[in-house]
Homo-oligomer: 153 residues x 3
Amino acid sequence: MSAKVITIIVTKGSLDWAYPPLILASTAAALGYECRMFFTFYGLQLLKRNLRLQVSPLGNPALGSRLPVFIKTLPGVQAIFTRKARERLRAKGVADIEELRQLCLDADVKMYACQMTAELHEFTKKDFIPGVEYAGAATFFQSAGESDICVFT
Amino acid sequence: MSAKVITIIVTKGSLDWAYPPLILASTAAALGYECRMFFTFYGLQLLKRNLRLQVSPLGNPALGSRLPVFIKTLPGVQAIFTRKARERLRAKGVADIEELRQLCLDADVKMYACQMTAELHEFTKKDFIPGVEYAGAATFFQSAGESDICVFT
Amino acid sequence: MSAKVITIIVTKGSLDWAYPPLILASTAAALGYECRMFFTFYGLQLLKRNLRLQVSPLGNPALGSRLPVFIKTLPGVQAIFTRKARERLRAKGVADIEELRQLCLDADVKMYACQMTAELHEFTKKDFIPGVEYAGAATFFQSAGESDICVFT
């Protein structure tokens, strides 16, 4: 029997939303799934060589829910939330995004950058880590159409 | 013929984004689907005994689109949007999240809390309503891999 | 062999998040997929005759990441981000949402408005472009349950 296949569309580019697709991918690979990730729109940020991912508490009442919204807009507050999130993750032994990303590549997870949105953001292949390939819509649909699981994250 | 299966990943913890997964789940159950929900990241908030869900108009131009963004950041505005949303839902006869959640459990929807992110948020089982079970990645993939529908909300 | 089927749930109503589902749909149709879109919650905004879609940089650190958050809350900044996004898209030859939406309808993509959330938002059929049909949960599940790809965007 051939391996099960998972296709993950990655559209977000913040520190917190980087985790769900990469955790899904690394776990899928560990369980023997063939895993393909398509990074598009803001998700392309996660492929950059130099990550500067941030967490924003704005528009997300589930984060820092005891803090007035006005405080969350003040200078420096996003940086504090980002630093606290990193500290919390490190304290709990969760890998950072660079490590998780490399772990996925090492486990043969395929990472595709959406060519159309890469051009829109004026990214070139040099902006991305090695191992990333460009793909268009046809490649995506070929993968998604034969997948056991396909999620849009 | 065995029942169709739906797996729903729940990652958001605001009042408005709580509805789509719970409406999907309750409807699926009513239509005879076997339904499993995996709550992770901010979605774990929806499993708490005491819900204090809020709606934020920030970062969502589709909500309160006639209001200047600056007004949306002012003290009390998120509370007003939350109260108005609750009133609107009640006036239209839509169940509140506590009711919808219980309705799902009564209809045999399985609710799993992601163990890894529960630990990250320092939630214990006591924080969650009865009926919630812990699950790891293997349980998720077993469910998702055999599902007819799998969505990431 | 019958055509492959894709079902797309559309829940967001901003200019940037309008693109992923519509690009998926138009590409799917071009590749011979039978494509059905279910617009619900904020996604109903994308069906309106008069679109006034905006881009918000708040709550999305991946957008305008060099700008302090406080600046992003100031009057006029959302309008600037929206105008810049439109200019960028036009310069790159990307269709605008009205065109993309019509292109989908012309390619026989089915567009359904979720009846329950349309009532919640007090939309009537007159608010929507021609070609949109109302649908309830049963229609959605019938489509999703037989789809090769089902994504929640």
